[in-house]
Symmetry: C3
Subunit: 342 residues, 3 copies
């Protein structure tokens, strides 16, 4: 049927994680899924409605090739969009404008152990209380057309992390409201993008009493010299909440991608993050470097090899990892794998 | 491949719910999925087996566009069917004959906040102990061919709400057995349908001791005058169980759908329900009116706007809602959205 | 799109289970899903990478037609493979070589109540501590090309039952390591296959202290005389663990399949299993016979009727079942159903 296209990625490889930051864990050697590109199955389609109006949708679900996790969701993306000459309005679960920017600037594309974003890297995303958030529920987004290489993405959600509640009159609201704006400029070899977003919640999100709030901005750029494509990223994240001291994070990344022959690319990045908690607490510092190589067997299939190393100061010990830091605290990681798109 | 067709719906919109019946909740303003037509992904196919025999199947799963709920099930429908000149036998999880009738008569098609069925409306479905049941597990159904506009649907399940148990010799059976019959007549602008079903369980379903039983019938009709299509529905539900007083519900709906131009339709309905619990308890009364407008952008895509209001007497306070009453008790609702089929 | 093919099975039928071995349960009469062939939805594809190299994948999920269970996983199979003239390497969740052998030799194809494998039958699979295991997570497998009818399958997984852990330095590892080798020979009407596998875990798996280990081998053969295809299977399973007595299982099956006309086949099997626990415990003994008939309505759709009966000695009472023995202990079963592939 022509109304829907099925697509996806099957990515599997060898994943070695070692150097437990707190000394708690032995090395982990595993066959893992989605190391470079999240393994997924997706459904998408477009309908021409006439008068320059189009409807389109994306429904995309994570799968786990190694242990067989299925299409239970939450989705990677699920939205309906209407587009015309004045731009696109999309509603549903979508990537944050911040992630769209950062993953475009990161030479590793925010994939593999070389990923700059928190979860495998040190660049905090979304909100201080949930530093790995890259997707928002209930997001209403607007994407402008491109004017001479310039476009804008803007979005708002009444609750970015779950269904909007039926709020009790007698209690603080738990919904996490987010708005974001992301202007971008592309011109030949140059790309520059800015992200600004705010996160707000009445109920406490990080150990305080009420009125949690983040203000976040990120500036990223890439320039393709042909022989090498350079990347730079700088960001700040300020977090406040009644009853806890304010925190302020500064973070940056420098990266490069070098074509090798017609099918290969060498990748490298260095990133750094400092969080100042004020109130006499020590600053938390973390840095990461990553080197990798990717080789295309075809347009749809490629091999990859990436090594990365994280360093933290004492205050940040155990908080960063080349794998999901909720489970462990490995500071050294190696990925060797195959990614196949369909 | 020609053996299977993928289809689905992506429906997303603004949903405002207000007027908490018990005064407990603030208004809810949300981006929600499936307001008019449940967002879904489905797989279906047909095979010609020769000699007039056909095999066919439907496998259809709810998805949540707003927060990304995936294809985990339970399914909306999942069955295998064999058909020939004598009719169709289908086995699996299927809509109740009652829902097939009611959703056909309801001008809102049992979608949006205008929906007449319990869950968003006041018309109790299925059984008194589970008044929103519209699908049955393990259903064996027969659908007759149409003879001069007349056909019959009949069905039986040994357990409509979960897998049939391995019953312990020493305990009451928990399976909920249901049988149903649904004769229909269509002739030009006229449609008339009758539903009768019984629900039985050895183990208590509604606070009693044992031998739960419902007897339910519904009579529905529509007549299309061209300028307007009128709808009428009347039903009764009697519930008995050892150790609890019997209850008796009477319910009805009147509705109309008016074409506006070639792409629009104005919709209106009024419905009412009274449950008599006997034994000195006050009758529970609820009514609902709904108005809406739907506008087709194409055969596959439409916009909708619907407003509805529920009224309850004191005995029914907090029991009905324009949203799922398990979570809240809003009596006033507004839906503005887009539904896209693929 | 040509990069992916959707396929599946919808199998539904009547399932009667009776003769509770311990006398605890009444008979169960149910409409069940996947009696002969597990109901499923799958996605697969192949890409020619040039130079004789191919990439391919399979992503296949169980579904439940009767009660609507969806594609949540764990998958039936999910792997990525690279193939050339020297064979195929596949990585992901896959069937065990043992199951590939046994299901090929079993006249019932390890389906219906006639299934020889533990779960519905008496032939223990995988490990003594998890006697129904037929799939392994994180499996890296190699399948050789066929040389004059001879080929070999070999596989290894660092954890066959879940994601590889981040092992704590201070504790025993919980990963269940498995390696397997499976040489096969096919020549005209003859097929012979051997399976050997080992299962190892540092942490206790069966009530002992540490160092759980299984050594398992199986020898199977079929010969197709045209009028009848005969099957034979013999296997041993030795299990050891510090702190528990060693156990040794011997098991075998004889079976036959007889074509009836151009579309039918009569099936029969008898299987037997004895486990010696040593240390003064009585041997556990179980046997099963099964008879069935399958009739093709087309290449994609068939009807089936199978009856099976299990016998156990006192030591094995309640441990075997024609249904999942985790839930009950029925020794007598009947399946009547339809299986439709798409």
């Amino acid at each position: 049927q022509s109304n829907v296209q099925i697509y996806g990625v099957v990515d599997v490889g060898y994943n070695r994680s070692s150097s437990s930051d707190t000394g708690t864990f032995k090395s982990r050697n595993a066959l893992d899924s989605g190391l470079q590109n999240g393994s997924r199955i997706g459904f998408r389609g477009t309908e021409d409605l006439g008068n320059g109006l189009k409807a389109s949708f994306v429904l995309e679900y994570d799968i786990g090739v190694d242990t067989g996790a299925g299409l239970a969701g939450p989705s990677r993306q699920s939205f309906l969009a209407l587009s015309n000459a004045y731009g696109t309005v999309a509603a549903g679960r979508q990537y944050t404008p911040q992630y769209e920017l950062v993953s475009k600037v990161d030479p590793f594309g925010a994939g593999t152990v070389g990923d700059v974003t928190f979860g495998k890297g040190v660049y905090l995303m979304g909100a201080w209380a949930a530093p790995g958030t890259i997707r928002l529920d209930n997001l209403l987004a607007y994407v402008s057309p491109s004017f001479s290489g310039f476009n804008v993405i803007a979005g708002y959600t009444a609750n970015g992390i779950g269904d909007e509640e039926s709020p009790l009159k007698a209690a603080l609201g738990n919904d996490v409201k987010v708005w974001a704006i992301n202007p971008n400029y592309s011109n030949g070899p140059l790309f520059v993008g800015l992200n600004y977003h705010q996160v707000k919640s009445e109920a406490p999100l990080s150990g305080g009493v009420r009125d949690y709030k983040d203000k976040v901005w990120d500036l990223g750029a890439t320039y393709d010299f042909g022989m090498v494509k350079l990347s730079a990223l700088y960001g700040q994240l300020k977090s406040t909440e009644d009853g806890v001291v304010d925190s302020k994070t500064k973070q940056w990344m420098l990266g490069a991608s070098v074509p090798v022959g017609s099918a290969g690319a060498a990748l490298v990045s260095y990133s750094r993050q400092t969080t100042d908690y004020g109130g006499g607490w020590s600053d938390e510092k973390a840095s990461k470097w990553a080197v990798g190589y990717t080789h295309a067997l075809s347009k749809r299939t490629n091999l990859y090899a990436v090594y990365a190393k994280i360093k933290t100061n004492d205050a940040a010990d155990g908080w960063y990892s080349v794998e999901n830091p909720a489970n462990n605290d490995y500071t050294s990681g190696l990925n060797l794998g195959v990614s196949h798109s369909f």
